[in-house]
Every structure is written in C-alpha cells, then in structure tokens.
C-alpha cells in the first residue's frame, strides 16, 4: 500500500472515480439528458402503463445487479492495482517512468534511494541527474528509445551523486505508445555499476600486480589476456601471447595432459583442476609450473572463459630432482616412514639391501624389515618419542635388520624427523654393517695372528739367545780354566779344556746351521707344484734304507696318500725328519713298526700321519717337542731343530702339525693337515 496520501496522489493523478458520484446526481443527470432530447411524448392505456411499470421494475433490478457486478470488478481491479504498485514500489531495481522530455512521472523506492531523493523526484527532470560528460549520450539514448516503441535500449553512462560525484549506471529503456489520454512514455530501469566497477578494478589490480602468473583464455583455448608475471615466466609480450592457442605453450610431452585438464575443468562449474606440467618459453626452455585451471560460465551454463593460475616450480623441481638423484644413488638405504610407521619411500639401495621391490614395501609397516626383537625395541623407541619428542633411533644405533628371505644382518640406523607439507615423517638411513663386521673380524684375526707371531718371535729370540749362549758360556768357562791349567802347567787338563772348547764350538756351528735352515724355510717354499706325497715318502725311505735295515724296522706306506700343492723338497724334509725320529725312538723295540697313512678328520679335513710303536711322548710335552732346540732326551744326538723345522714347513703350506700319544711307551703319531 502507498506509504502516504501525497505519494498516492503522485501515483494516481488522473484516476476517475465514478463510485464517488451519488445516486441522486446520476438521476439528475439522466433527467436532464432526457429533457434535452427530442423524444416524442408517450401515451398509452392503463394496461400499457402497467406493462411499462413492470418493465421499469425489472430494469431497476437488473441495474442493481449490474451495479453489484461492477462494484466487484472495481474491487478486483483495485486489488491488482495495489499489487502492481507494491511490486513496482518494492522492486530492487531503480525504476522510473518518464515523459519524452525526461520529466519523471513515476519513481519507485530503489530509484529514490539511488538518486538520494526521498521526495520531489516526480516532476523533476532526469537529465539534471546526469553527469555533464554523459548528457549528450543520455539524450541520444532517450531519442533512440522514442523512435522505436517497445524496443529495449541499453546504455551505460555516468550519473551525478548527491555529493556531486559521477557514478556509473546502466540504463535499460523501453518507450510505450500514447494511451489513456497521455502521450508516449519511457519506462527506464537503472543499474548502479559502482560495486561492479570496483570489483573489476580490484581484479585488474590483482591481475597485474600479483606474482602468480594468470592467463585468461577463450572456450576454444586461445589466450585472451596474460598478466605481467605470466609474460615474464614465458618470456613473451602479452600481444604475442594473445595470438597463441593456449596449448602451444605446453611442452610437447605434456600437451595431452594439459588439454585433458582444461576439458575436465570445463565440465565442472565452480571447481578447478590442478596439474604440474612444463611450459615452453620463447627461448625454448622448459619451465615447470603448477597450473590451476578454472572456468567462468554464463547464465545458461555455457563456458565464457577459462583462467589458469601458474606457479613457477622449476627450482623446486630441480631441487627435488637433485635430491631424488642423491637418494637414488646413495650407497645407504634411505627409507621414509610416516607417523604410523608406514613406509612411504624406499630407495634402490634399500631394494638391494633388503631384497624387496619398492612397490612391495611401500604402504607396509616398517617393522616388517626387522626381526621381532628389533621391532619390540623399535616400538619402545617410538613410545619414547611420543612421550619425549626425541625421534626414535636418532644419533645412530646398531641394530639387526631382516631381509625379504628372512635372513638377518647387522645395520647402523640413524633417523631424522621432518615436516613435509604439515605431516610428520621420519627418514631412516640404514647402512649394512655385514662387510664392516667381516672386515673387523678379519682385522681382529690378523691382529691376533700378529700378536701370536710377535709372542712367538719373542720366544724365538730368547730361545735362540739362550741356546747360542749356552756353548758360549762353555767356551768362555773352559778358556778361563785353560788359562789356569796353563799357569799350573797341567797339560792333561789343558788338553781336556781345549777338547771341550772345540766340541762346544762344533755344537754352536751346528746350531747356527740348523737355525739358518729354519730361516730359509719361510723364504724358499715353492707352492706352485702338485706333488705326490707317496712318491716323496718312497724317496725318503730309500735314503734311509741303511738305517732301516740296521734297526730292522718295517715302514708301511698307505696307497692312498694324496697329492698336494706344495714344495717337493720341503715336504721331503718333513718326512725325512718324522721318519728319522720314528726310527730313532723305535730302535729299542724288537719289531719296530712305522706307518705313513692318511685319514679324514671332520673338522680338519685330510690328515697325513707318521705313526710308530716307539717310546711315545707324554701329553705335557706335546707342545714342547716342536720348540726350537728342544730335546726331551739330552743323550740323543741332534740339535732339537727337526720338529721345529717340520712345524715351520707345514705352517708355510697352510697346514698345522701336532703329536698324538698315549704317553710313555705308547708310541707316537705325528699328524699334519695339508691344504
């Protein structure tokens, strides 16, 4: 409903209200019209008068009925009018009815608000609200509308605000023909474009100044606009870009993916599709970009234009590629694990180390790479991490890992935690310690061996000095006594002393010879030859034939004595010494028996032995018999070098030598292994 009477009058200035005329007035007017007419005087019979009176009554009732009908129609009309008036008044679009000279006839609330006039707009001339720069355009627009009744004309121009500033508006005007006694009129809808223009200005400001690269393109993928950042990225002027199909910018390998993304985004309103691809600059370089594609659609849902926002990720890609190359070529296994212990990456070294393909383990629990006990320790470390924040196994730990085939191996693990895109991850660097452990063991064995050799050398030096000193003491002692005997002129004693000195010198000479022979062994052993031990033993037996006959000993040589890789001469010396010893210590037997044979010993392999039924060796002397210059029986001839020599030769052949005996009178069995 109208808000006030004045407004009411503004809106209905020429409204005729017949209902306001009284019935009496109507009667008077009818009588007057009758008198003025030249109707003939009517006469008739009483019957005629009665019929006429009846007709009049009927007409009277009909008129009353018609009047009621009219009254209802009038009410309906008023209601529709009110509804129209409401719609007009409350419409959000400023709306005006104008005369052809732009005098405002009607104006709704939105129009009054736009013009900042709560009253007095009706009757004003709209041209006075037009910005001076737009006045000509305004009148051209009005004239154009008046020329063509019913056609809609649209024009954007500038109005003046109440403060005297221009603001942009769009006018949509239709001219209606004259009717109801008034001339042609203009119906005009006004749209305030201020907010739109501000938004547009903001968009362009962002478009031009942002660091992100923005490209707009048409539905057929031609570049419409490119901002400064995009031009810089692609090393092309905007003018040049505008002539290009958008797809031309993509690297040949990425065209298909890019086209797919553009089409995919076009199918979905209000969503955008992202992808990473390479674009080609004018210089022909490839630039990696992260592209986000979205489309703008018109009211009918048709795509108007697309917008691509590009982010240059070339550097990030390069850094990522470098890092990946490092990880891929690292000698250590690099494994990343998420906060739930799930493996997220597994480098080639890890594949090699654990025997799993990367695809097999990615997505699995990292505990599948370790045996149960390590997994328990790992769980405990993870718990500790949750409690204290220190990453599990940071700083490096040596643990046991498990390969795909279930075998376990020692590893050194160091773990670092890192935040990747807001997610916590752990990187484990795993080094296989198998080789190092093996090298450590070899080194320790070498050190042990060296220590043993040193100790042996020390013993050797003491032994040699002791045994060489002994004849020296004798010689010096008897030389001293000789001097006394000469002073006493005791010739017999003097001769005895000289004999002792000579014997001692001979002994020393033979000791030195033996020592020399022993020292030669290590230097002159030749292992290149494949020699038959049986052949060697037979040769030695031939040399000992006289001795054998003298003692009546029997020497049995096994047929299956092996052939070995070694030094024929040195191995001959081994058997020479062993057989001589055997003959020496069996000579008191009635039936001396010597056996040269071979047996298989599980741990030691092939064992060659020389067994006799002689006086035997007590177990406490088992080691001493091999010592240099060691003789269990000082009355036996020899220097005590023989078995030391045997030991030295066997050791230089990579074997070991030992004696087995049940003790005194039990016979002895000298054994050695051959490599």
């Amino acid at each position: 409903m109208p808000s006030s009477d004045s407004t009411h009058c503004d809106i209905y200035p020429d409204m005729t209200r017949s209902s306001h005329l009284s019935t009496n007035a109507l009667r008077r007017r009818a009588e007057q019209l009758l008198n003025d007419s030249s109707r003939p005087q009517r006469t008739g019979t009483e019957q005629d008068v009665r019929r006429v009176l009846h007709e009049l009554d009927v007409h009277d009732v009909e008129l009353a009925l018609q009047n009621e009908e009219l009254q209802r129609s009038r009410n309906a009309l008023e209601e529709a009018h009110d509804r129209y008036q409401s719609l007009f008044e409350l419409a959000p679009v400023p709306y005006l009815t104008l005369e052809a000279d732009s005098t405002v006839v009607e104006a709704n609330a939105a129009a009054r608000e736009l013009m900042a006039r709560t009253a007095g707009l009706v009757g004003a001339t709209l041209a006075t609200f037009v910005d001076e720069s737009s006045v000509d355009a305004f009148w051209r627009h009005i004239a154009k509308a008046c020329d063509q009744w019913g056609a809609r004309h649209v024009r954007e121009l500038s109005f003046l605000s109440a403060h005297g500033h221009g603001f942009p508006v769009r006018l949509a005007t239709v001219c209606t023909p004259p009717s109801g006694g008034h001339p042609q009129r203009l119906r005009m809808a006004i749209t305030d474009l201020t907010a739109l223009r501000e938004t547009q200005a903001l968009y362009w400001s962002v478009f031009d100044s942002t660091g992100a690269c923005i490209l707009e393109f048409s539905p057929d993928f031609r570049v419409l606009r490119a901002n400064a950042a995009a031009c810089r990225l692609l090393c092309r002027a905007e003018r040049e870009l505008r002539q290009m199909a958008f797809i031309e910018l993509a690297h040949p390998d990425d065209v298909a993916a890019f086209h797919g993304a553009l089409l995919s985004a076009r199918g979905r309103a209000a969503e955008h599709t992202s992808l990473e691809l390479r674009l080609v600059t004018s210089a022909g370089d490839a630039a990696w970009v992260h592209a986000s594609v979205s489309w703008l659609f018109d009211a009918r849902g048709e795509p108007m234009r697309g917008v691509v926002v590009l982010q240059d990720v070339t550097e990030a890609k390069r850094a990522q590629a470098e890092l990946q190359a490092i990880v891929d070529t690292a000698a250590d296994a690099v494994i990343t694990v998420d906060g739930r212990r799930i493996i997220t990456s597994f480098n080639p070294a890890a594949v090699e180390m654990f025997g799993y393909a990367a695809a097999e383990v990615i997505g699995r629990d990292v505990c599948s790479l370790m045996p149960a006990e390590t997994a328990q320790a790992f769980d405990a470390a993870v718990e500790e991490f949750r409690r204290s924040g220190a990453p599990p196994l940071s700083g490096g730990h040596e643990v046991v890992a498990e390969r795909r085939d279930g075998s376990v191996f020692p590893v050194h693990v160091s773990v670092a935690d890192l935040q990747v895109a807001g997610t916590r991850k752990f990187t484990g660097i795993v080094r296989d310690l198998t080789e190092r452990r093996r090298a450590d063991e070899v080194r320790e064995a070498l050190l042990r061996d060296l220590a043993n050799k040193n100790a042996e050398l020390t013993r050797f030096v003491y032994t040699v000095s002791h045994d060489l000193k002994s004849p020296l003491i004798t010689m010096k002692g008897f030389a001293g006594m000789l001097r006394q005997d000469l002073r006493d002129e005791n010739v017999e004693r003097a001769l005895h002393d000289v004999g002792r000195i000579e014997a001692s010198a001979d002994h020393m000479s033979s000791l030195l010879d033996s020592l020399l022979a022993l020292s030669r062994v290590g230097r002159t052993v030749e292992l290149a030859e494949n020699v038959s031990l049986r052949e060697i033993v037979e040769n030695v037996c031939e040399q000992l034939h006289a001795w054998k006959t003298e003692t009546g000993a029997e020497i049995i040589i096994a047929d299956d004595l092996p052939s070995v890789r070694g030094d024929r001469v040195r191995l001959g010396e081994v058997f020479q010494n062993l057989l001589e010893n055997a003959l020496k210590f069996t000579r008191m037997r009635e039936a001396p028996l010597i056996e040269v044979g071979v047996r298989r010993d599980g741990a030691r392999g092939t064992v060659v032995f020389v067994r006799d039924n002689g006086i035997g060796v007590e177990p406490r002397h088992f080691e001493r018999v091999f010592s240099l210059f060691s003789q269990l029986d000082p009355d036996e001839p020899g220097t005590g070098v023989g078995l030391a020599l045997v030991q030295r030769i066997i050791e230089t052949h990579g074997g070991e030598v030992w004696v087995e005996s049940s003790g005194a009178d039990g016979g002895a069995c000298f054994c050695f292994t051959v490599a």
Binding site: R459, Y462, T463, S465, H466, K469, S470, L472, I473, T474, K476, G477, F478, A479, G480, M481, R500, A503, S504, E618, H621, Q631, L632, D633, P634
Partner: protein, 143 residues
Amino acid sequence: MLVEDDSSHAEIIQHCLRERCGGESVVWVNTGEAALAYVRDARVRPRLVLLDVGLPRLDGLEVLARLKANSEHRPIPVVVLTSSMLPSDVSRAYELGTNGYVVKPTSFAEFQGTLGDLVSFWLRRNTPAPTHFDALRPARSTG
C-alpha cells in the same frame, strides 16, 4: 747340589764351587727326576740347590714347584741358575718361590765371582731360609 743337564756347564760350575766353598761337597745330577729323588732320599738335606731351567722332560721350574710345594723341602734354598732371560721364566720362578734367579754370566771371571757370592751368602746363614722370600726378591726390572 747342582742340577744341570749340560755336562760342560756342570764341570765349569763345579770347578768354581770347589775353589770358593772349600770343604763343601757338591752333588751333581743331570735331570729333574734325579734331583727330586736325591732330595727325597738323601740322609743329609742339601744346603743349597743350584737349579738349571732347561732340563729334559721334567724341567727346572717344575722341579722348583715340587720342592716348594713340599713343606719338608720348602726351607731348602733354591737358586735358579740358567742362561734363559725369558721374562716369563723369571716371573714364573719367583711365583713358585725361588730364593734367587741368576743368569749364567758369559765371562769366566764373572762366573767365578757370582757363584762365590751366592754360595757364601747362602751357606754362611745358620738359620734356615725364610719361607717367605718376597723381601729378598729384586725389583721386577726383568718384567
């Protein structure tokens, strides 16, 4: 008593002892077994044992161990007389309770002097040798 397997050394030592200890008689044995048998069976216990280390079969240190393990024989002074300077032999001998360790000198004169000092030290003591000899042990420079 002299326990020495090398007859030449035995002869030299006996010669020196005869010169320096006058009336004392010297018994010479050339094996460890003979030495133990003598100590066990002799009517008069030896007043000093000069013991070589490198004896055949039962070596000198084993003889020393057995003498010192026997409470009856323990008081007999035993001096190891050897040409071995092997540190392990020296320390082992003292661990077993030797009363002295003397390395045979190469010079005859020195041999005479050393043996003279040794014998006069041990034979002029009227009291039995102490059972605990640490006080007499030289500084472990041989170690």
